[in-house]
């Protein structure tokens, strides 16, 4: 509710301060690419600024726009599976293991897991963000969870 009032109060910057870092980290986990995450966050907020008070729920809108921008960018780069096997990739342990594991899942499984386990969104909200139906999100979550657990166990071995 608090976020809903932000645009009216000129508070997109406040939304960025509250959510920006979390959104960026979620997009890094989704895309495996800091630059792409930065681009998607900046673009989503730039578009939100351009829309002004026409945004009724700026928080949900920005999350949805940023994930769709990131997914579009991944596809445009022709690598829907992100390049996390790249040994030169700079990321501290332990997030590196998680992000590498996520990279082996499908884009929708990645998005569903990140939005559920990191951000805490429910199935219906995730469906709104990735533009899918809750039914499909449940499949992504269940299968992604199973696969990610297996991958993380392999990493431990």
């Amino acid at each position: 509710m608090v976020q809903d009032a932000l645009v009216t109060a000129g508070g997109l910057e406040q939304l960025y301060r509250d959510d920006g870092a979390r959104l960026w980290r979620a997009l890094v986990a989704f895309s495996g690419d800091r630059e792409l995450a930065s681009d998607a966050v900046a673009e989503a907020f730039a578009q939100a600024i351009g829309r002004g008070s026409h945004l009724r729920d700026p928080q949900r809108w920005v999350w949805r726009a940023a994930f769709r921008i990131a997914a579009g960018e991944l596809k445009d780069r022709g690598r829907f599976r992100p390049p996390l096997a790249d040994p030169g990739y700079e990321m501290d342990q332990p997030p590196a293991g998680l992000v590498a594991g996520l990279s082996r899942l499908s884009p929708n499984q990645r998005a569903a897991l990140v939005l559920h386990y990191y951000v805490g969104y429910a199935t219906k909200e995730i469906a709104g963000i990735i533009g899918s139906s809750p039914a499909t999100v449940r499949v992504h979550l269940s299968q992604g969870r199973k696969r990610l657990r297996r991958i993380l166990e392999e990493q431990d071995d």
């Binding site: 608090v2 960025y16 980290r25 930065s38 809108w61 897991l113 469906a127 899918s132 139906s133």
Partner: protein, 572 residues
């Protein structure tokens, strides 16, 4: 905290850059727009459709549907559409007439059900049911929800069933071999056979009407494309062959000449149609929302599909001849539609969807200016038979909200209301005459009880309730152009009362006050910004703005939003 939650918490160790300066100076790119539609636009569209007599009823707002009656002799075009909808906290299978009327709930199970598929004679429905172990299994039932029979078992996902045109077999997707492959089985569940075999995901099988071929989606070449194979799994051909975009959800037209599918080649998922050999591709939906899951009408003239264009995921019907898109289910969240083929049989009795309509607020005024009093009600529609006496509690099973206006003239207006922030309104509801023209406007508090109020102003016409608009350029950042939503402080130090004032010369002004406490006491000092507006037609035009520093009485602080009076109203 689960193991995975702990893993994801490690993301917090990543140092995030400050991107706000970049966002501020960046010109938004030319990427596909991701605009949300104004919720009222969807409501008005839905109402207009109903009022125009097109017959697409908005069942969620119509109260309990009549008990379904057996239909002895179906007439052409009376086929039903099966779908899954979120109801009472679970996804269940429903069916509805193609004109949006006569909704019936077919399953009432303790788990979620999805992906209904009709048998070719229209008497049976296969669907996917989530079991207690988390996996989905395929079941079949008759068209009224009875005679349930389970077809698949095991610790794997078995879902997306599709009946063969002769009714003898069912194609489906199974993850039993480690990843999704297309399988086929006899209609009684026997002889389950794998048709595809590759390391990537094969999904969404769709039979050709002659039964010789099966279209499906696969990402075996790196991204999703539509493929077609012989019904025995041989002779696989990529029909779409696009490296840069995803294609999915194929659906064969009833005459076998075309395939509808979804592609994001133009930026966001839209419905496309191509010839069955992959040629002559044309886009048939145009909306920045995600459109998916197309299913053809039996005569091939229309496609029902799933879209989040109205905010939540719902069902829409596209008339291919005229290109018109009409909402089938409106507010209820719904997915995965399937159109009943051919002439339906008797459906028999099936349980209706019980809903309770609770009036949460009433107000009266002269909205149409005819000199008689009009009564307005704000109604909550809750699933099931519930008590309307909430004692401040929010309905867990709130399914929709509605504004009902009974005009003094005898006319009644009933309109879905979807503007409540986060799905809940505080139910403050006031009539006021902002411009003194003898017609009252309606003010509704859009915020839930926990937040300081956002009030939206509406013009009530006999045919629709429409939001007033703040005219360009408004008074950014506090009063921006667009729907007239005013108020909304977001912490205890910032409040935004709204005042309506009648001046000595009779002119009327709406004043929005944005006050920020720059002192360390409730009394202030406060930095106060005022925006004064007058209503001209349906537009609120900003006439003056002002900044001042003020103090207020220690006991009350700045005049604040109150639940009983949304704004200091001198305009009655």
């Amino acid at each position: 905290m689960t193991d995975l939650e702990e893993q994801f918490r490690t993301l917090d160790r990543l140092d995030a850059p400050d991107l706000w300066p970049e966002a501020q100076k960046r010109q938004p790119g030319t990427r596909a727009p991701t605009r949300p539609r104004h919720p009222l636009a969807a409501a008005v569209l839905a109402f207009t459709v109903a009022a125009a007599g097109v017959g697409l009823a908005i069942w969620a707002f119509r109260g309990p549907p009549p008990a379904p009656k057996p239909r002895p002799a179906a007439t052409p075009g009376s086929e039903r559409i099966a779908f899954a909808a979120y109801f009472n906290g679970r996804w269940q299978i429903f069916s509805v007439d193609a004109d949006g009327s006569d909704i019936a709930q077919l399953t009432d199970l303790s788990t979620d059900q999805f992906y209904p598929a009709w048998s070719p004679d229209g008497t049976r429905i296969a669907f996917s049911a989530q079991g207690g172990d988390g996996f989905m299994q395929i079941w079949v039932m008759d068209a009224s929800g009875g005679d349930l029979e389970r077809l698949t078992r095991g610790r794997a996902w078995n879902y997306l069933p599709q009946w063969s045109p002769d009714g003898s077999r069912i194609a489906f997707v199974s993850s039993r071999d480690g990843n999704e492959e297309v399988f086929v089985m006899n209609a009684d569940g026997s002889e389950q056979t794998r048709l595809t075999d590759d390391p990537d995901e094969d999904l969404s099988p769709a039979w050709s009407p002659d039964g010789d071929r099966i279209a499906f989606q696969s990402n075996r070449e790196g991204n999703n494309d539509i493929y077609v194979m012989s019904a025995d799994g041989s002779q696989v051909t990529n029909l779409t062959n696009t490296a840069a975009s995803g294609e999915f959800d194929p659906a064969w037209s009833p005459d076998g000449t075309r395939i509808a599918f979804v592609s994001d080649r133009d930026g966001d998922p839209e419905i496309y149609v191509m010839d069955e050999d992959g040629s002559s591709v044309s886009r048939v939906t145009r909306d920045a929302a995600h459109d998916r899951s197309p299913a053809w009408s039996p005569d091939g003239s229309a496609i029902v599909f799933e879209s989040d264009r109205a905010g939540t995921v719902g069902l829409f019907v596209l008339n291919l001849d005229g290109g018109t898109v009409l909402s089938l289910t409106d507010v209820a969240e719904a997915c995965c539609p399937a159109w009943q083929p051919g002439v339906p049989q008797e459906t028999g009795a099936s349980p209706g969807v019980a809903v309770t309509r609770c009036t949460q607020a009433t107000t009266s005024g002269d909205f149409d200016g005819d000199g008689t009093t009009d009564e307005a009600e704000f109604i909550e529609v809750a699933s099931g038979s519930v008590s309307c006496d909430r004692d401040g509690e929010v309905f867990e099973n709130l399914s929709s909200q509605e504004v009902l206006v009974r005009f003094g003239s005898g006319q009644t207006l009933e309109q879905p209301f979807t503007d409540c922030q986060g799905g809940l309104c505080a139910y403050v509801f006031t009539a006021t005459d902002l411009d003194g023209n003898g017609r009252d406007e309606l003010a509704i508090d859009l915020t839930s009880a926990a937040a300081i109020g956002l009030v939206e102003f509406y013009r009530v016409d006999p045919d629709a309730v429409r939001a007033l608009v703040i005219a360009d350029p408004g008074d950014p950042p506090f009063v921006r152009p667009g729907p007239a939503i005013l108020g909304g402080g977001f912490d205890s130090g910032v409040q935004s009362p709204i005042v309506c004032r009648v001046n000595e010369n009779g002119s009327r002004e709406l004043i929005s006050i944005h006050a920020e406490n720059v002192g360390d006491r409730l009394s202030g000092p406060w930095k106060v910004h005022t925006t004064t507006m007058v209503l001209q037609g349906d537009r609120l035009v900003v006439t003056s703005t002002g900044d001042a520093e003020s103090s207020f009485p220690e006991t009350t602080g700045i005049p604040s939003f109150s639940k009983t009076s949304p704004f200091e109203n001198g305009c009655f």
